[in-house]
Symmetry: D2
Amino acid sequence: MPSPIETLTEYFSEFPGIGPRAARRFVYHLLSKDAEYAGALADAIRELKKSILQCRLCFRFFQNGASQKLCDICSDEHTDQSTLLVVEKDADFENIRKAESYSGFYFILGGAIPILEKEPAKKIRARELFDRVQERAKGGALKEVILAVGATMEGENTVLYISKILEPLAQKYNLKISSLGRGLSTGAELEYSDRETFTNALKNRS
Amino acid sequence: MPSPIETLTEYFSEFPGIGPRAARRFVYHLLSKDAEYAGALADAIRELKKSILQCRLCFRFFQNGASQKLCDICSDEHTDQSTLLVVEKDADFENIRKAESYSGFYFILGGAIPILEKEPAKKIRARELFDRVQERAKGGALKEVILAVGATMEGENTVLYISKILEPLAQKYNLKISSLGRGLSTGAELEYSDRETFTNALKNRS
Amino acid sequence: MPSPIETLTEYFSEFPGIGPRAARRFVYHLLSKDAEYAGALADAIRELKKSILQCRLCFRFFQNGASQKLCDICSDEHTDQSTLLVVEKDADFENIRKAESYSGFYFILGGAIPILEKEPAKKIRARELFDRVQERAKGGALKEVILAVGATMEGENTVLYISKILEPLAQKYNLKISSLGRGLSTGAELEYSDRETFTNALKNRS
Amino acid sequence: MPSPIETLTEYFSEFPGIGPRAARRFVYHLLSKDAEYAGALADAIRELKKSILQCRLCFRFFQNGASQKLCDICSDEHTDQSTLLVVEKDADFENIRKAESYSGFYFILGGAIPILEKEPAKKIRARELFDRVQERAKGGALKEVILAVGATMEGENTVLYISKILEPLAQKYNLKISSLGRGLSTGAELEYSDRETFTNALKNRS
């Protein structure tokens, strides 16, 4: 039977960006604390899964305040009905929300599609996105779906795939499918910009 | 009298990005070579200043092939007459040219304007740019000046300053003064994008 | 009341080397797993504190195999009785043990003493170390205490402090108090070595 | 014919640690200076090779002050006659001299011997070292040769090779051949020390 130190080291090694050495340091960190502290942490982990729900419309994680099934944005009648912004994951959503420059609905894809992926539909919530867009477009409120994914090869692949899937809805309901503008990101210098970035920045000049 | 090792170390310390330790290693590198090698390098340095001219229109450095005074772009009649792209320095020009997405004239500013700079006109070729734009606009060929500087605080400051200087010409000759588009540069991920980059990328979506 | 996401983010932010952003990613990692996984992790954390004991002689953490109170090294009669190697923390012990070049007893100080620390005795197990050394020296078995701390300012400060504390025992029982040799560590190059390292390496040449 | 920009970029690309991009920036740096500056730099490079000699005893580079053939250390009668410290290169010598903890003669090997090198004698001044040691030992003044090379695989390989070469002299003249002590270098922490470093530090404890 593996020692609890080994078991816990393995759990922590699965944390994003954590190797075995850092995982082991986490374990020693816990050992240096008293049993009460460890108990409280264990409780917080259990509590997380109990009290955090996933919104059935946008798939964001949110705290279940009043036994509702929808997150604060999806259930807020002041949310701009005309746009749906599609992101890869909750951390992207959080960062975007901080920018305070978007006021419509969101949708969490739950991933991106690697290049040459054989089963793209299994990597993201493709079916759920289709249903959600259809439902909102049917009523006539939704005008635009904004694909807000990274400017990476995976991201571009994901944009291609989703665009194809949403194409029938776009035609039927006269929806715009857009993606984020490319150009110089803050801090970019021209001496080090790649060809694609400059070409996009030139095209999008204003 | 300082030793030649010290003297040369100081010269190399002025090279961009080189500290005293690296400069010293350069000197030892030269010492490890024979006198012929050092002589050839010294010749190449002298030759550089002799055979490389600065274009009197765009201020790029270029090799004097046929005793002309203009660089290959400024003297090429196929160059697109309607646009002038303003960059900070030669290295920016070289990188942009590799992108092969621009076919008009260039202008090398020779620097950028730091925030709170008291004498901005001395930091860049402001007067020369004004004259060059006026000359090209007078004939009616020039339609747009594109300010292609980095998306940094210095860069934005430079854009503001140049825009103000060129304003009278823009009005008189109906010129467009544009700057490069902001948005996601290649490789950007939304989880780590700053507020400004996302906001620009959202605004420039397409 | 803070959300469980915030609560857990704060816990993870206390993990060594983890900032708020990485902590938040850990939380999303857990949210992406099912409740069973989270439960198992919570159990492993509780179990850690239950089944891992701290040896009452050397203060190492160890797994309680047979209800004993001593770790495998302190309870092993083959352990070399003549030396006691003092380290800062469990991770140091683990790394040293892997080197397989030491076969005596250990003692975990539980920390190091910062420069100018006003209450050094509270930073480390000074009292416990004194008692342990006295107990082993009284019987005549212990001949040497090896202070194996980092070659840092804190480490040197700790060596000074412990040496002073153990001085009476060293005299009374004719104990040697030693510390690890200084010199070139593996991979060190002379061009980049600091003055102290070279001077020590020269002194310890062989 | 390549442009002087290309030619000079290639020269600078041979400087230690400099890639093509940095080399190009050096060229633009020179272009931004006037011809006088470039001329002075070219002169300094020529001057370097003219006025810096290589000591015929220790092979250090030194400035030819009074038409002498020996460097200040080799020609100084106060230099400790009993030790000769062998280093790889001038930069090592400079760093060691700053430590001010050695007062004997030096010898610059001019390199190190890579693992599996087929012609080790061509990589370093093996013959010259043998002669120099023999000459100093014959008179009876030299007592010890200190091999001060990096604690790297190349360095250890070099120590092995030189030790073998000097072995006959060591026996004949009762010379000590030593190498720098291994152990914790300044700043080293035990949690991250490799097995060899700890083992050496334990062996060299004091």
